[in-house]
């Protein structure tokens, strides 16, 4: 990666906790990463791993009982974690935008698609109704929605899930933001459309020299699409590195298990290698390694909390075993 490239985003020691009646949910626990201009970062993990909450934290979209308890989010030289809501409103949608996971709920069912795209445009730019309409039509066409002129007058329920997601992508791209946080943007889409949409998003990132965080559970997709990868598990960053490092030489047992359990790479019709069990509840996580109960390589040290340690050329893993070897 270009060393002279400017950092768009710098996250240091981010901790986002939810204070619930059952206890403190450490949804994001001490996460740090950087993002440079023109770079696409993949944030991989299972649901509940804290990837989406990391995304929401950047935008300041954490509602009580959740709170960013610690850490700095430096976006273009300013700490977003310390900013007021009024300042964040100006940034959201304009400089940082988000493509949400669930196209069903991220669009308002009582307004037309056209209204919702125009709303995003007019909130940050001083443009006329006619201009906004024209831009909205162009955006729909860019994301590959047929007969955009008519579709602008339709409501979200008249769109299929994939089409709704494209509308979400259109809204996020509307103002050419410096940072796009895409939360499972293509999960609801088919592979050929996923390829189209991601190609589109990737080009936009490269053309406008912006940056993107792609939050997904699809590690194969991340391997193709992103420049660098962060793997999250139970609120923590367990491994970080370039895509070659993560996919070819995964160091953390969780990443190794994740890659090994992907169908299509193993002998057909045989049982897949699976990671036993499921992710622990984030309430009252034991102090040690969160992956310990499912880990095939656990040793005694694992009851202490491992931290991210460099294991070679920027490749970092939070595992005692990978550090020892």
């Amino acid at each position: 990666m270009n060393k002279n490239a400017t950092k768009v985003l710098e996250i240091e020691g981010l901790k986002t906790y939810f204070f619930t009646r059952k206890g403190v949910v450490k949804a994001v626990d001490d996460v740090s990463f950087n993002l440079e201009q023109g770079q696409i970062l993949g944030l991989v993990g299972e649901s509940g791993a804290g990837k989406s909450i990391t995304g929401f934290s950047i935008l300041g979209l954490i509602d009580p009982p959740g709170r960013i308890v610690n850490g700095r989010i430096i976006f273009q030289g300013e700490n977003l974690a310390a900013k007021s809501e009024a300042d964040l409103v100006k940034i959201r949608g304009d400089q940082i935008s988000m493509v949400f996971q669930d196209p069903q709920t991220s669009l308002d069912p009582v307004f037309t698609i056209g209204f919702q795209i125009k709303e995003a445009l007019k909130a940050h730019q001083d443009i006329s109704e006619a201009q906004a309409l024209q831009r909205a039509e162009g955006l729909l066409r860019t994301v590959g929605i047929p007969s955009p002129k008519q579709r602008l007058r339709e409501y979200p329920h008249q769109f299929s899930g994939g089409m709704r997601q494209r509308v979400g992508i259109a809204i996020a791209m509307a103002l050419d933001p410096a940072l796009i946080i895409a939360d499972e943007p293509s999960t609801a889409l088919d592979v050929t459309i996923q390829a189209q949409v991601l190609t589109l998003m990737r080009r936009l990132v490269h053309q406008k020299n912006s940056a993107m965080i792609l939050i997904t559970h699809d590690i194969a997709l991340v391997g193709q699409f992103c420049d660098c990868i962060c793997v999250m598990y139970a609120g923590r960053l367990v491994e970080r590195g370039s895509k070659e490092q993560i996919i070819k030489t995964p160091a953390h047992p969780y990443t190794q298990g994740l890659i090994a359990s992907i169908p299509g790479t193993q002998e057909r019709r045989r049982r897949l290698r699976q990671i036993p069990g499921m992710m622990p509840s984030l309430v009252d996580l034991p102090e040690g390694c969160p992956f310990l109960p499912r880990c095939p390589k656990a040793v005694e040290d694992c009851s202490e909390r491992p931290v991210l340690v460099d294991i070679g050329r920027g490749h970092q893993a939070a595992c005692f075993r990978s550090q020892a070897s």
Partner: protein
């Protein structure tokens, strides 16, 4: 072990049922009657939906005069397909290509517009209600979304037990044991039986959905994207479970999916659908090795795999999207997007032709070569 060995009676209890066919006439059960290999056969199946359902929706003001608009969604267009006993047929295609509609028509959630569905020797497409019931038991479905396919007000016991009672798999006295048995088969603890769906994770809910389907002792299980709503590490668990159960109970799967890496792993044969048409069928090895139809080629080039660490822009640059199934393109349904389009493609609709033994493709290019 197969289900059928265990069943001594086939008549549902407490539903009257004098019109219900006896076990012998219920196809696929009696080897003397079932001469063909296929467990389920679909012939020229067509399912169209009306866009404007009644006269009030049909009347529109267009170009300065009142017109009656009657549009039709061509969801499934003349699909012929046979599923052999014991195989896993994967039905792949993009959303809106009609794969779920086809699955739902087979299971009887939609009435076919035209064409027939044969279970063994028996035509079941036209059957409804009680006549359909015995076949309904043989063909079960696992739905995509484990969060909406389970009734939130019912306990696991009620969800899994109800179809078993309805189909007379067990009587009330034996119900609890039967439920606990099936829960154990799908890897759920007996203590979960009295819980409600919201108390479970996605993977566990999908196990409940599988238990509900298996409780009826089906021969054919249709999985309508059964793992696409689950986490990756859980997907492997559910896939393993489905493969284990297939072996154990001699199940036949119709696996509807858009995830080609899953399809590659689990299926023995693949049928590719586009705009309500089957464009290619082949064994899994053949189709992944050498996709014949240009659409299959496009589809397969777009799969992200771990082998290649670069982004396949070529697949992303393939212009166009699936046309609306309201106005089907003339000729080949894929011709507006096809990179190899030539004249006949725009005029005549290609039919599925055998291009190699057991391998069908609907493409004019095969005739030209």
């Amino acid at each position: 072990m197969t289900w059928d060995n265990e069943i001594s009676h086939d008549k549902p209890k407490g539903i009257g049922g004098n019109q219900i066919p006896s076990t012998a006439s219920c196809g696929g059960l009696d080897p003397r009657q079932n001469t063909s290999q296929s467990l389920l056969r679909v012939e020229d199946l067509t399912k169209h939906f009306k866009v404007q359902k009644n006269i009030f929706e049909q009347i529109k003001w267009q170009d300065g005069r009142i017109r009656r608009v009657r549009q039709v969604v061509h969801a499934v267009n003349g699909v012929s397909l046979a599923i052999d006993k014991g195989e896993t047929l994967a039905l792949v295609g993009e959303s809106g290509c009609g794969k779920s509609t086809l699955a739902k028509t087979i299971i009887g959630l939609h009435q076919p517009t035209a064409g027939s569905i044969y279970y063994g020797q028996d035509e079941i497409g036209g059957l409804t209600g009680r006549q359909r019931l015995p076949y309904q038991r043989r063909i079960q479905i696992i739905f995509q979304d484990p969060f909406s396919s389970l009734n939130p007000r019912k306990t696991v016991m009620e969800i899994v037990g109800r179809p078993m009672l309805l189909h007379g798999i067990t009587d009330k006295a034996g119900l609890k044991d039967a439920i606990l048995d099936i829960l154990a088969q799908v890897g759920l603890d007996a203590s979960y039986a009295s819980r409600y769906p919201h108390q479970f994770s996605g993977g566990q809910r999908q196990r409940i959905g599988i238990a509900r389907a298996l409780g009826c002792r089906p021969n054919l299980v249709i999985g309508d994207e059964p793992i696409s709503a689950l986490d990756v590490s859980i997907q492997a668990q559910i896939l393993n479970l489905m493969m284990d159960l297939q072996e154990k109970f001699d199940l036949t799967y119709l696996f509807v999916s858009h995830d080609l890496s899953v399809v590659k792993h689990i299926s023995t044969r693949v049928a590719v659908m586009y705009l309500g048409f089957i464009v290619e069928t082949a064994t899994t090895e053949e189709i992944f090795d050498q996709p014949n139809h240009p659409y299959t080629q496009l589809l397969f080039s777009a799969i992200p795999t771990l082998d290649k660490l670069y982004f396949n822009e070529a697949a992303g640059l393939a212009e166009g999207e699936v046309p609306t199934p309201i106005d089907l393109p003339s000729g080949c349904p894929f011709h507006p997007r096809c990179p190899n389009v030539f004249n006949p493609c725009r005029i005549t609709r290609p039919v599925l032709k055998e291009i190699a033994p057991g391998r069908l493709s609907a493409c004019h290019l095969n005739d030209r070569a």
